[in-house]
Symmetry: D2
Subunit: 281 residues, 4 copies
């Protein structure tokens, strides 16, 4: 029997960095978690234990910090492309670098005196996300949002659905709807204005979720995607992954009580999962 | 050899509930996770397998929903005491009920049209917390905050400390300081105004953390506690547990670069942990 | 501006089930977490809010339990294909069903009297994994392992690597090596003998990790993959994802002490990540 | 208004260490996570920002590694007491040191050639635990187990329980019982034989859980505690905390199917929680 090396990559994951931009009047913070993966000809390492082509992943970590020192990191997208370009540019053996960045959100503390110059409070679980891919022939950049958790307490229905012999779900014209949005979109041009694009897309997603008269998660997802495309002309498609975080109506009938959508049981599992790409025509 | 039953309790944990208050103009939401523990004479269950005195923990779950239906849950404290009083009041065998509640925060969505009537976005990891204890002779209520994550990028030092032969830490007059506040306070009177008390204490903790010229976590902790006591006359002491979430200055000297508090490595472990109670005199 | 629906799917995730096979002499347990995703023509739901083609995800959950009752679940692979075939077979609108199953491991309790007939202890974090895909034209089945955590305290080196100006890592001919194996392999034939195949592959991975004189994670990965292919003739390739769970040598030199690979600092982040497919030739 | 400092402590948590004992024929590994908390007169730090009495928590981390180098760590208990004695002994200002250690389990890899000399596989989520407290007048040591997850598929009932108007639970004479054992016991003498004591207690807990005809978690808990006391004469009491990890019988009646304890729905929440101390008489 023989074996050969197929598709492969290597790199460093979970490299965390806080960058402080120390302005005269106030500080800005950016906290990121970076993952780097390189492709190229690394067959000798796999097959012969010859590491001559292998830059240590520890060096990639050092590179995040050193390049992070010189770069403003106004957006995670620009920093991802900066890192990817570095790795492809300095090593002829590397054919592609993929740099993935998640950004933790910090909100500036407000006191009675207004915005504080250097204190911040956690922005919660929501994360900005991007992935830059740099090859010898070009660059692509995909952006996204993870963990944008939303809930609405009315204007959501689910009825008229298909039934088979295992269907017990009741139709409803009024339910709680909650999701944790994962969104991914690719910019047509890697020199796009990432920050306003992201902000417009995020606002479109939240406002559509809030305002939509929902007949299903599918319908709300599509409306959210359509509105996001309208809000940001720099992208041509958006992929949304929406878990249906079920809030079950508590059954109070054994106790002779009604429950007019007042008391719900939040559940983590099982959950529905609705995924689709909406594309510009 | 003989054995006997010592201190014991039983109950239901992680009972989750969303309560929607459906006002004419807009909805309010409260999402809680409740734990109930009862004490009393449950020796027969342990020693003889006789369950006659054991109300099922499943019933406690049902009770959260049924009492949650009738109760406004304006504050988690009032609901905790309501539940505790129910369990002690209906069963002569129960001598004490402890009800612990954590509250997830939801913030109302704002759109271009102002506050949305029924859509909300997650308030992150921070949790309101309380524990009500009801016995035959009285009630006590303790409140708190979990997971209030703060960071400041200057006005924090640590110098002049004790050294032994294993000390390698350098003194610093300027570092990043970050913590995740856990706070606990007991109200003198179980009929206190819980909501404004909580809000005043929380604001005092955040503003003091932000504004304090810190010589150590210990000093900042004490200042935060002192200010919280001043902000809320209904409490006599506050306990603070402050992990020192170290942001380590990245060492760029091997690369011939300085690092004037610009690039830091966030770490989860190991972490310092400073805990103290501050009391009113 | 116009929009259209692109690639989409929907289904139920995190459906948990314990199946007990109650034999005359002893019980067997299988605990699984199932995710189902269907593809087909669901445009009406997205575009018009017409749910006539949408079988509720709640029904998918019910189907796991009802089909789980009738099926022996000797392997998760056979159950995944059984579920997928059901969803494609009963609904002409469904063009593809993907069923993903993770299996928690339970080990039988052994007492002084031998194997216990109906008591089990958790097998830890390691999970069996599979994904069956059923379409109108055929079925495919991929199997795998998640969370197989291994460590070796010698016979691992990393030297002779590429260096650039950001490289500070020291070469070493003796280090601790630890990883958490994620493995994926596809069977050539969906009627393969899944259980012995899985067992042979798992044993090959563990024994090769243990016995290999490692010049790098890359080399060990390739050796593991090669040996797995040799151990199971029913597969043609295997993909391995090996995080390098760094155990850093504690620097005791500030205290005048040597550290001959005795004291290490386990770290979760950052971590290397080496990924490759090994293919049969 | 005045304030004063109440009860306080400080220290380092989540200090992780792997100790390798490199024998001639084979290696042994011990992986621990250590937390240290010191008490003493630290008022000046809190009140005046005077750190002269404050040994940095970073030094405590260094101390774990340096003392870990010299100590065999045959048991976590002996290492906890060794660390605690160090901190109290070297600093007259420290009145008490509490050292808490959790130990991850590694099992030696077995191959066709027998036990491997230096490769190990994760022992899962179960943790050994201990807490040593050293003061100027004495030492105490408490040991325990965390995360010992067990399940049995029969010989468990719950019937004859108290009912109120919110009770809907059905009585059962045959159910699945699963728990995650947390156990704590204190040795009468801090020079006890920790390893065999721990092993005897653990075996008693598992065998009793497996073999007991359970009328309730309470009854099984008591039997487990009683048997543990019998198994280890060096302790006088044991505290057990047993969540009731409910496996709910799937309701297949809507589909015209019976379910004779074959198909269950594992749930994480809500869960019962039964806690008691069993004492030697």
């Amino acid at each position: 029997m023989g074996a050969r090396l197929g598709s492969n990559s290597y790199g460093k994951s979970r490299v965390r960095m806080l960058k402080v931009r120390r302005g005269a009047d106030r500080h800005e913070v950016v906290e990121v978690t970076v993952a780097i993966a390189l492709k190229g000809d690394f067959a000798a390492a796999h097959l012969k234990g010859d590491n001559a082509a292998v830059l240590p992943t520890d060096t990639m970590k050092n590179t995040v910090y050193t390049l992070g020192k010189g770069h403003g990191i106004e957006t995670i997208e620009s920093f991802a492309l900066h890192l990817g370009t570095h790795f492809v540019g300095q090593d002829a053996n590397v054919t592609a670098a993929r740099v993935t960045i998640g950004e933790k959100l910090w909100r500036r503390v407000r006191t009675g005196d207004g915005e504080h110059p250097h204190a911040f409070i956690s922005g919660g679980d929501e994360r900005r996300w991007c992935e830059g891919a740099v090859t010898r022939t070009g660059v692509t950049i995909e952006s996204g949002i993870d963990g944008l958790v939303l809930i609405k307490t009315t204007d959501s229905a689910f009825a008229g659905f298909k039934k088979d012999k295992y269907t017990t779900l009741k139709e409803t014209d009024d339910r709680v709807l909650s999701t944790s949005v994962t969104a991914r979109w690719a910019y047509r041009d890697a020199r796009a204005d990432f920050a306003p694009g992201r902000e417009a897309i995020r606002r479109a997603l939240i406002e559509t979720f809030a305002g939509h008269k929902s007949a299903s998660v599918q319908q709300t997802l599509y409306a959210m995607g359509e509105r996001a495309l309208a809000a940001c002309s720099a992208i041509d498609s958006i992929r949304l992954s929406l878990p249906n975080r079920h809030y079950l109506l508590a059954d109070l009938s054994p106790f002779g009580m009604s429950n007019e959508n007042e008391v719900f049981v939040p559940t983590d599992e099982p959950h529905g999962l609705i995924e689709a790409t909406v594309e510009r025509t």
